[in-house]
C-alpha cells in the first residue's frame, strides 16, 4: 500500500467514524430477525415460545406484505431480515417472483406440510390454514340449502348475499383459485352472479359481513372462519354457521399464513431451524389456536370452538396459483364491477 493511499484511507475513516455512533443496527449472533405481515398479537406468542424452547432470541417488525416485500427488495443484501411471514399465499408467491426469498431444503418441512400448501421449489411454506367459506344464517337458511360457492350466483339468493370488498386479498385469492379450478370464463360467470345478488354494496371487512347476516341484512355471505370464531367466542349464540363448501367436488378454498427465508438472510441456519420448529405439534397447535385457524400438519388438534364445526375436505390445487392468477382475478373482478 502506498503512503498516499494509506493516507486517503485514514482520511476517509476519520470522516466517516463519527457516523457510526448513529446507532447502527447491530448484528448480534443469536438473534433471528423477522419481517412479519402477521400482526403482533398473532405472532409474538409464537416467538416467545420459540425463544423459551431454543434460547434463540427473535426481533421482529410488522407491516403489510407488499410493503415488506418492497423493503426487502430495496435493502437487498444489506437487509437485517432472515425470515418473512405473510398472511396469504399470493404475497408469498410475489416474494418468490421478486427474488427476495431463497429455497430451503428440509425433509422435515416437505414431509409434514402437504404439497399444495407450499412452494414446489421450497421458497415458501404454509404454516397455518385459513378456510374461506359460505356463511349462512343459522335458522333462516337450511343446512342443505346451499352447498357450493357456485350456488351463491343462483338468482334464488338475489338481494340476500353480502360480500366483502374486492380489494381484499382473500377474495382475490378465492377468485384466483376458481379461475385455476374452473377456467376464467366459468369463474367470471359465477362471480358476475354473486355481484347481481348483493343485498348491500360490498362491506369493508369479514366481520361486517358476518354481522350483516346475523342482523338479517342478508342471509348468506363469504368469510374466513376465524372471524366467525372470534364472534362466537364473544357471543356463543351468534346465529351464523359455516358451510363446508364443495365437499362433493373440489373442496373448501383454503389460504395460508406462511413463512419464507429471505434471500440475503444473515442466519439462514437459524431461520431454517425456526421454520422446522413451526411444524412441531406444539407450535402448530399454538399457531392455529391463536386465531381459530387450522394447522397444516396432519393430526394436530384444532381449538374446541373450531372443532364444533366438524371436519372438511379442502381444495388441493397448489396455492401458488393464488399468486400466479391474482392479477387475472383482480381484472375479472373489475370487469364484473365487484367493488
Amino acid at each position: 500500500m502506498t503512503a498516499r493511499r494509506r493516507f486517503t484511507r485514514a482520511l476517509v475513516a476519520l470522516c466517516l467514524a463519527p457516523l457510526t455512533l448513529f446507532g447502527a443496527p447491530t448484528h448480534a449472533t443469536d438473534i433471528l430477525t423477522v419481517y412479519s405481515a402477521r400482526n403482533e398479537q398473532l405472532i409474538e406468542p409464537i416467538f416467545t415460545a420459540f425463544t423459551q424452547e431454543t434460547g434463540i432470541a427473535v426481533r421482529f417488525t410488522t407491516d403489510k406484505d407488499g410493503a415488506l416485500i418492497e423493503r426487502l427488495k430495496a435493502e437487498g443484501e444489506n437487509t437485517p431480515a432472515d425470515v418473512l411471514i405473510t398472511v396469504d399465499a399470493g404475497n408469498l408467491w410475489l416474494a418468490k417472483e421478486m427474488g427476495v426469498v431463497q429455497p430451503v431444503v428440509s425433509p422435515t418441512l416437505t414431509s409434514k406440510i402437504p404439497t399444495h400448501l407450499r412452494d414446489s421449489q421450497g421458497h415458501w411454506f404454509g404454516v397455518s390454514m385459513r378456510a374461506r367459506v359460505v356463511m349462512r344464517h343459522a335458522s333462516k337458511v337450511g343446512a342443505n340449502e346451499i352447498t357450493r360457492y357456485e350456488d351463491l350466483a343462483d338468482p334464488k339468493w338475489k338481494g340476500r348475499l353480502c360480500l366483502r370488498t374486492a380489494k381484499n386479498v382473500y377474495n382475490q385469492s378465492l377468485v384466483a383459485m376458481m379461475i385455476a379450478e374452473l377456467g376464467e370464463a366459468r369463474a367470471e360467470q359465477i362471480v358476475k352472479g354473486w355481484v347481481a345478488n348483493l343485498a348491500t354494496p360490498p362491506l369493508p371487512n369479514d366481520t361486517a359481513v358476518l354481522q350483516a347476516i346475523a342482523q338479517g341484512v342478508c342471509d348468506v355471505g363469504l368469510a374466513n372462519t376465524y372471524y366467525l370464531g372470534r364472534l362466537v367466542e364473544k357471543e356463543p349464540n351468534f346465529p351464523v354457521v359455516p358451510v363446508w363448501t364443495n365437499q362433493e367436488d373440489r373442496g373448501v378454498h383454503v389460504n395460508v399464513s406462511g413463512v419464507a427465508v429471505t434471500r440475503h438472510a444473515k442466519r439462514p441456519e437459524l431461520a431454517k431451524k425456526f421454520l422446522e420448529w413451526l411444524t412441531t405439534d406444539e407450535a402448530q397447535k399454538r399457531f392455529a389456536e391463536l386465531n381459530h385457524e387450522f394447522p397444516v400438519v396432519a393430526g394436530v388438534a384444532v381449538s374446541p370452538l373450531v372443532a364444533k364445526w366438524g371436519t372438511f375436505k379442502s381444495s388441493e390445487t397448489p396455492l401458488a396459483k393464488a399468486g400466479e392468477l391474482q392479477r387475472a382475478a383482480v381484472q375479472l373482478m373489475d370487469r364484473v364491477q365487484w367493488r
Partner: protein
C-alpha cells in the same frame, strides 16, 4: 440595497438541500416510468381509471366546499363576534384534527352503517335510515376530520388583518358583512387556499377512510395496482400523475393571484370582536357545540367505551412507551419541520426569482403522494445511502453495516419530506401579510435587521408557527405507512398499535390506541390556545 449582500449563500444552499431531500424519494418513484406495463394500463383505462377519476373529482369537490364552509364560517364567527363559549370554541374547534380520519369513519359506520348500532335500533322502531356508505357519507366524514386545516389559518388571517381591513371597508361605506366578503375574505385568500390545499392533498391521498366507505378514488386505484395487480411501478405512475396534477392546479391558483398583494398598510390593531345579537348568540353557541360534538366529543365517548370493553385486555405498561415514542417523534418532527418550513418561507420571501418558486414547489411535493408510495421512495433512498456508506466503510476498513436504515434520524427526515408543506402553508400565509415597507419603516426608525425580525416579524409569525408545529405534530402522531416501513426494531408507536389491531380486523380493540392518539392531539391544541392571536397581539401599534 446593502443588507442583501452576503458572503455565504445560505439561502440558495439551504433551499437546495431541502429540494434534494424532498426530490430523492420522488426520483426513486419516477424511475418507475422506465417500466410501463401497457396491458395493465389498457385494463385500468378501460375498466378502472375513468370511474375512479370522476369519483375522485366529485369527492374532492364536495369535501372542499364543505371544509371551506365549515372552516371559513367558523373562523369568521369566532374571530369577529363574541357569544357564550367563544373563548373555548376558538381553540377547541381545532380538536377534531387529532382523530385520524379513518377512525372517525369507523365510529360513524359503527353507528350508521347497515349493521350499525343506531341503524339496528332504528330498525326495531320501524325506521329505515338512509345508507351512509357512499360518496356523501365519505365526504361529510372527511370534511369533519379536515376542516381545522382551513379553520386555523383562516382565523389567524382574520385576526391579523381584520381590523384595518374592516376599517377601510367601513370608511368606504360597506357594512360589516359586505366588508367581510369584499375586503377581509380576499385578503385571507392565501391562508384559506393554503388550508384548502392541505385538505385536498389529504383527500387525494386518503386510502383508509374511502375504503371503509367503499368509495373508489384514484388512491384506491393506486393500491389496487400495487397490492391487487402486483404492479408497484404502475401504482407509482398513477400516484405521480395525480401528484403533478395537484401541483399544477395549485400553481395555477398562485398564477391567478400573482399580481395581488395581501398586506394591509401598517400593522393596525387586532380585530375587536363584536357581541352577537341576543337572538343569534345562542345559535352560534349551539352551532359550534354541535360541530364539536359530532366531530370530536361523541366519537371520543364511543372510543372510550370500546377501549373500556374491548381494549382493556390489550392495555399493558407498554402503552407508556408507545405514548412516549409518539410524543417524541411528534415533537421533534414538528420542531424540525416547522423550523425548515420557516426557512423555506423566508427564502421564498427574499427571492422573487421563478427558480425559487419551483424549488419551493418541489420541496413541498411529498404531501401530494399517498403515504405508502412515498414510504417506498424513502426506503429506496435510505437503502441506497446505506449502500454508499458500506462501500466507503469497506474502503476504510470500518465495520460495513447499514447506519441509516432503521434509525430515528431516517424517520425524522422522512417526516420532514412528507409534512414540510403542512408547516409551510400557514407560515407562508403569515409572511405574505408583512409588507416590505414595514421592514423599511422599522429600519428607518433605527431598528437593526435582527430587531426587525424579533420585534416586527416574530409577533406576527409566532401564531402561524405554533399552528404549523401543531399541525405537523398531529400529522406525525397519526402517520402510518412511513412509520411502519422505517421504524427501528421494536420501536412501536400509537399509530403502529392502531395498525396492528385494525389490520387484523379488531377495530373496537384499536379504540385504545386511537383514544391515546386523540389525547396526544390535545397537547398541541393547548399550545394553540396559548398563542391565540385574539388574546396575545399587542394593542400598541408601531406605525
Amino acid at each position: 440595497m446593502p443588507r442583501r449582500v452576503s458572503l455565504f449563500p445560505l439561502w440558495p444552499i439551504g433551499v437546495a438541500v431541502l429540494v434534494v431531500m424532498a426530490a430523492a424519494p420522488l426520483i426513486a418513484i419516477m424511475t418507475s416510468f422506465r417500466a410501463i406495463d401497457v396491458s395493465l394500463w389498457a385494463h385500468l383505462i378501460h375498466h378502472v381509471l375513468p370511474g375512479y377519476a370522476s369519483e375522485t373529482v366529485l369527492l374532492l369537490g364536495i369535501v372542499l366546499v364543505l371544509t371551506l364552509l365549515l372552516g371559513v364560517g367558523l373562523a369568521w364567527l369566532t374571530t369577529a363576534y363574541t357569544f357564550p363559549g367563544v373563548r373555548l370554541f376558538r381553540w377547541a374547534l381545532v380538536l377534531p384534527l387529532a382523530i385520524p380520519a379513518y377512525v372517525l369513519a369507523f365510529v360513524y359506520l359503527a353507528w350508521f352503517d347497515v349493521t350499525g348500532s343506531v341503524t339496528a335500533w332504528a330498525r326495531t322502531a320501524g325506521v329505515v335510515l338512509p345508507e351512509i356508505r357512499n360518496r356523501w357519507g365519505a365526504a361529510v366524514t372527511l370534511a369533519l376530520a379536515f376542516y381545522p386545516y382551513v379553520y386555523l389559518p383562516a382565523r389567524l388571517a382574520f385576526a391579523s388583518t381584520g381590523a384595518r381591513a374592516l376599517e377601510v371597508g367601513q370608511t368606504l361605506g360597506l357594512t360589516r358583512r359586505a366588508a367581510f366578503w369584499q375586503v377581509v375574505l380576499p385578503l385571507a385568500r392565501p391562508a384559506i387556499v393554503g388550508g384548502a390545499a392541505l385538505v385536498g392533498f389529504e383527500t387525494l391521498a386518503d386510502f383508509g377512510l374511502v375504503s371503509l366507505f367503499g368509495i373508489d378514488t384514484l388512491s384506491v386505484g393506486i393500491y389496487k395496482a400495487w397490492y391487487g395487480l402486483f404492479s408497484l411501478p404502475t401504482a407509482m405512475q398513477i400516484a405521480a400523475v395525480l401528484a403533478l396534477t395537484a401541483m399544477l392546479l395549485l400553481a395555477l391558483e398562485q398564477w391567478a393571484r400573482r399580481a395581488a398583494r395581501y398586506t394591509t398598510p401598517g400593522r393596525g390593531a387586532a380585530l375587536t370582536p363584536q357581541p352577537l345579537s341576543p337572538l343569534l348568540a345562542p345559535v352560534a353557541s349551539v352551532l359550534c357545540t354541535a360541530v364539536l360534538l359530532v366531530a370530536w366529543a361523541a366519537p371520543l365517548v364511543q372510543l372510550v367505551s370500546w377501549a373500556w370493553l374491548e381494549g382493556q385486555a390489550f392495555l399493558t405498561l407498554r402503552y407508556a412507551s408507545f405514548f412516549g415514542h409518539s410524543l417524541l417523534l411528534g415533537t421533534s418532527g414538528a420542531l424540525v419541520t416547522a423550523v425548515l418550513a420557516l426557512f423555506l418561507a423566508y427564502a421564498q420571501r427574499r427571492s422573487r426569482h421563478p427558480t425559487m418558486g419551483w424549488a419551493v414547489r418541489v420541496a413541498l411535493l411529498g404531501y401530494a403522494l399517498p403515504g405508502a408510495v412515498l414510504a417506498v421512495g424513502v426506503v429506496a433512498v435510505v437503502s441506497a445511502l446505506d449502500r454508499l456508506w458500506i462501500a466507503a466503510a469497506k474502503l476504510a476498513n470500518l465495520p460495513a453495516t447499514p447506519v441509516l436504515a432503521g434509525t430515528i434520524a431516517a424517520l425524522l427526515a422522512a417526516y420532514t419530506v412528507r409534512f414540510l408543506v403542512v408547516a409551510f402553508q400557514p407560515i407562508h400565509a403569515a409572511l405574505m401579510r408583512i409588507t416590505p415597507s414595514m421592514d423599511e419603516a422599522a429600519q428607518s426608525l433605527g431598528a437593526s435587521p435582527l430587531q426587525v425580525l424579533t420585534r416586527v416579524h416574530w409577533p406576527l409569525v409566532r401564531p402561524a408557527l405554533a399552528g404549523a408545529a401543531a399541525f405537523v405534530f398531529i400529522d406525525i402522531v397519526k402517520e402510518l405507512p412511513i412509520t411502519l416501513m422505517t421504524r427501528p426494531f421494536g420501536w412501536e408507536t400509537l399509530a403502529t398499535r392502531i395498525f396492528e389491531l385494525t389490520n387484523d380486523g379488531r377495530w373496537e380493540a384499536a379504540a385504545l390506541p386511537a383514544l391515546a392518539v386523540t389525547l396526544a392531539g390535545l397537547l398541541p391544541t393547548l399550545l394553540l390556545a396559548r398563542t391565540d392571536p385574539t388574546h396575545t397581539t399587542p394593542r400598541n401599534s408601531p406605525c
